[in-house]
Subunit: 551 residues, 2 copies
């Protein structure tokens, strides 16, 4: 823990214990002599079976784990091999050298794919494994379009509100519900200390936007920024263990005037800071002119670039415009440079885009940026619903993920209006798990539909507790059910409150199925052949189809 | 009001008064000697301008209106012309005869299109105007893919819970927030009386599923249903003023066994009731065999068919299967029959469908059902998020509407779990307004983007109150803003709580724009030519870009 750390009493207690209806389980495998324990959330079913789901929550949901926020999480990856290869020691360099790292084996088991697929995708630059050597607490994960779509949750204090304790709890809370990475976007006081507490306790990769802290260091005046102060900030954050960094190096001086006629100008904070700097100095962005040196720094730690879209559209009117795509072309150029230094790269994307303009974003990103993983904020499919932008953006996020986006940055209901609280963070995460899963289904991810099928089967068989446990948010599902039918017998009732016992279509169709199976009737021909003489028999049995099982 | 009506004290008071930041306004036009007042919601802006939006809320949001729930709404359409033509007096027959009805003129003004477009689309069967002669209180509206995408809200009591007063208020509440039609799906006691109160007070078309009431009349046993009792129920509802009716006439005997191997069988209540009847009697559905007579009844009142998808998939696993598409083909056959009787038709659609299988539903519906308006329930893009199915389904709804679906049936957060309360109804309506609007944008509806642009402009210019007023839900937008920055000066602050005054990208880009405009810099060449010498000047001005306007 950093010597700058704040007093422990400023970190409130964090949420621990398993999610309702499940337990933490570890699959044990061996990789190059190292015993690996791959975490899964194991959902117990009333049938005696279980269903395992991908688990991002770290030790916090393990009821046997001892959580000590002051000590931080165990340094899981410190003992893992870091093979010697010529050049940088990054997952990209190892993958290119044909080496399957321990991280890659861990990821393959998590994703249900072969270690070779992981290596090949990383080597091609189509996937990244954000894993700073100095953040050994993190459980390896991968971002790439051949794998499950990932989601990021933003946390971080601002000048206006929030404490360190709240931010650490937000990280634990967000990963509990499924955040694959978190970004610490703090801009207020104690940026270094907040980040230290988050990193030492985070089981997922942590991203930052170093320009925010660099700006704090120069008193908030962007014209006073310099490459030197920025570089020092990046090194400080690399040393701490930040896994990926947003760098707005594509905001070039000549692109700035392209935003002048926009409805909403520049809406990216990093983008606007760099635009102001470029205009004030009438000089090309120091992030662009010093990009090679920046690559050398990130390569030493295996920090991944997240090349920021500083000129992303902030409204439907500005989507897919000249400013946005000019920057994207430059991000493509920078992608090639970063990879030549052995540095992993992903590309950030919009923003606000109407549905019919979404797919073009993915197509151009892939074409211009060597298929580097795309990491988008939404996009929001309309501007007219502040207060519901988790939904407006989930629509865009699902579509852009189906088209190939590898990670989705969540948007909470407070977007455009205020800072998300604990409930907003959960709502944002669950909403984005929906978008990511919908895309996994549409892309045919091998493990995706199993969960839908398991839940729907439980629903059809009136296994209410299993339905809750298999859902993304068992607590809410159960609470909603209990609002109308709170009694315990209702958990096993063969009907629900929507239709009541007499109108239950599920019950009727269970009867239909039972009847059809009994008589081998599963197709038109079978029906024609065998059904005529059975109808009286069914009518007799059918007289009972509405018998309520709970009075 | 029906003589069966329940005591007035059972109807609680309903919500009245304008939505925050707007007033009811009427555009006055003349049509064939009739003075028409077309309602709009007029949003007042702090710039002195106003912005009008489509308004479904009826007189309840008119602060000058006297609302008397016992008397019902004024019978707006009773005095309108009902031209004599050979055959039925339906909007379809009139449109085919080349007549632009008063309803069509009213709709054209509402939609911002020509009356002739309305007539032509109705004549072609690509749009419907659900307007029972016996529901003169309703304000005409149109459902068709060339017009704004519409949404429906389901209300209605069940055997388990809810009162008449609650249902009337749900209708008022749902239309307040934008429901274009409502369906009364009551299955419990007082079905007739509940419907009467809703119809006499509803400014929007009301739909029902007559089989629910027919089933109540035979004590809940589907095997006891008969054509005669069903027909009587339909006539009763036509007489009351129901505008459109869901009829599951496509559930044929030979399709029932196709559902036996499904993960979730038959999930439509109407579908399962008819399946049970067909199996019990081993006879073709009485809805199918008596469809001509049914058409004759509906034609007399100009009640619109909503041909129900009784075999719609209830899970991702069952999407686009043989049972679903077999029924859809039959709905196409019935569409032709209905139209030959002069009856308007729309077609109901799924359900649960993964994103990559959604567009095929629209394609086949259009091909097989003569492009009759498609009216879909969601579809839910995944099964795994009970408690959030307004969101899972908004994803599917946006995509299916972009592909050509004309009306979306809302889904609330309580779907699969319980009965929606007042908050759930609002959440469902707003969520579906988002889906519908996102599709309007993607389809290039002429009026759609104006609202996004107006809101984004207000956002960029820090006109907070205008941003709230232009949003789909001004109350929530304002509440969320006030949670972090409640003070009144913050409503005019040139920053918000997310970034605080020092980090505001909107402010920086306003400065960039001001600078660029001052120097005529709006393109790369302009920049190259004129910018070099101006940079010192900007640096001087730029030193002030972060001055907070509120301390």
């Amino acid at each position: 823990m950093s010597s700058n750390r704040v007093a422990a009493d400023r970190v409130d207690s964090v949420t621990t214990g398993p999610i309702q209806g499940s337990v933490k389980h570890y699959r044990e495998i061996e990789a190059d002599g190292t015993a690996l324990r791959i975490p899964v959330r194991r959902i117990g079913l009333s049938t005696g079976d279980h269903f395992d789901v991908y688990d991002t929550s770290g030790p916090y949901t393990d009821h046997t784990a001892v959580i000590d926020v002051e000590a931080g999480l165990p340094k899981l990856r410190d003992s893992w091999a870091k093979p010697d290869v010529p050049g940088p020691r990054t997952q990209l360099a190892w993958a290119r050298a044909g080496i399957v790292t321990t991280e890659m084996r861990y990821i393959a088991e998590r994703e249900g794919v072969s270690p070779e697929l992981v290596r090949a995708e990383v080597a091609a630059g189509r996937a990244v494994v954000p894993a700073n050597h100095r953040h050994p607490e993190s459980e390896p994960m991968i971002i790439g379009k051949k794998f499950a779509v990932k989601i990021n949750a933003n946390i971080g204090n601002s000048a206006v509100t929030s404490s360190i304790g709240e931010e650490v709890e937000k990280m634990v809370w967000a990963t509990r519900w499924g955040a694959d990475t978190i970004m610490d976007l703090s801009t207020g006081r104690n940026i270094h200390e907040t980040r230290e507490w988050i990193l030492r306790n985070s089981p997922v990769p942590v991203g930052t936007v170093p320009i925010y802290q660099a700006l704090e260091k120069v008193g908030g005046d962007p014209t006073k920024l310099s490459w030197e102060s920025y570089r020092d900030t990046v090194i400080e954050q690399c040393e701490q263990g930040v896994d990926y960094m947003t760098v707005h190096a594509g905001v070039l001086l000549r692109y700035v005037p392209l935003t002048a006629k926009r409805v909403t100008g520049i809406v990216s904070r990093g983008g606007s800071i760099m635009a102001a700097w470029c205009l004030a100095h009438h000089t090309e962005s120091f992030l662009y002119t010093n990009f090679d040196e920046l690559c050398e720094i990130l390569a030493r730690y295996d920090v991944t670039f997240s090349l920021g879209d500083g000129l992303r559209p902030g409204s439907i009117a500005d989507a897919n415009d000249e400013a946005q795509f000019a920057e994207l072309r430059t991000l493509g150029e920078l992608t090639g440079i970063a990879k030549s230094h052995g540095v992993q790269v992903m590309i950030e994307g919009p923003g606000h885009v109407p549905m019919h303009k979404i797919v073009e974003n993915v197509r151009l990103e892939e074409e211009w940026c060597e298929e580097a993983p795309f990491y988008t904020l939404g996009p929001l499919a309309t501007d007219i619903a502040p207060g519901y932008d988790h939904i407006t953006s989930a629509i865009g996020a699902s579509i852009i993920a189906q088209a190939g986006t590898a990670m989705l940055c969540y948007v909470t209901p407070k977007e455009h209006l205020g800072l998300p609280d604990r409930d907003d963070v959960k709502t944002g995460v669950i909403t984005y798990k929906i978008a990511a899963h919908a895309a996994d289904l549409a892309k045919g991810h091998p493990l995706a539909q199993d969960r839908d099928d398991a839940l729907s089967k439980a629903r059809f068989e009136f296994r209410w507790r299993d339905q809750f446990a298999l859902s993304l948010d068992p607590d809410t599902a159960r609470d909603f059910h209990d609002e109308t039918l709170p009694a315990e017998p209702a958990k096993t009732a063969h009907f629900c409150s929507m239709c009541g016992p007499k109108f239950c279509s599920m019950r009727i169709s269970a009867d239909v199925r039972e009847y059809a199976e009994k008589h081998g009737l599963t197709g038109e021909q079978a029906l024609d052949a065998g059904m005529s003489e059975k109808s009286a028999e069914f009518a007799e049995a059918g007289g009972k189809v509405y018998l309520p099982v709970v009075s």
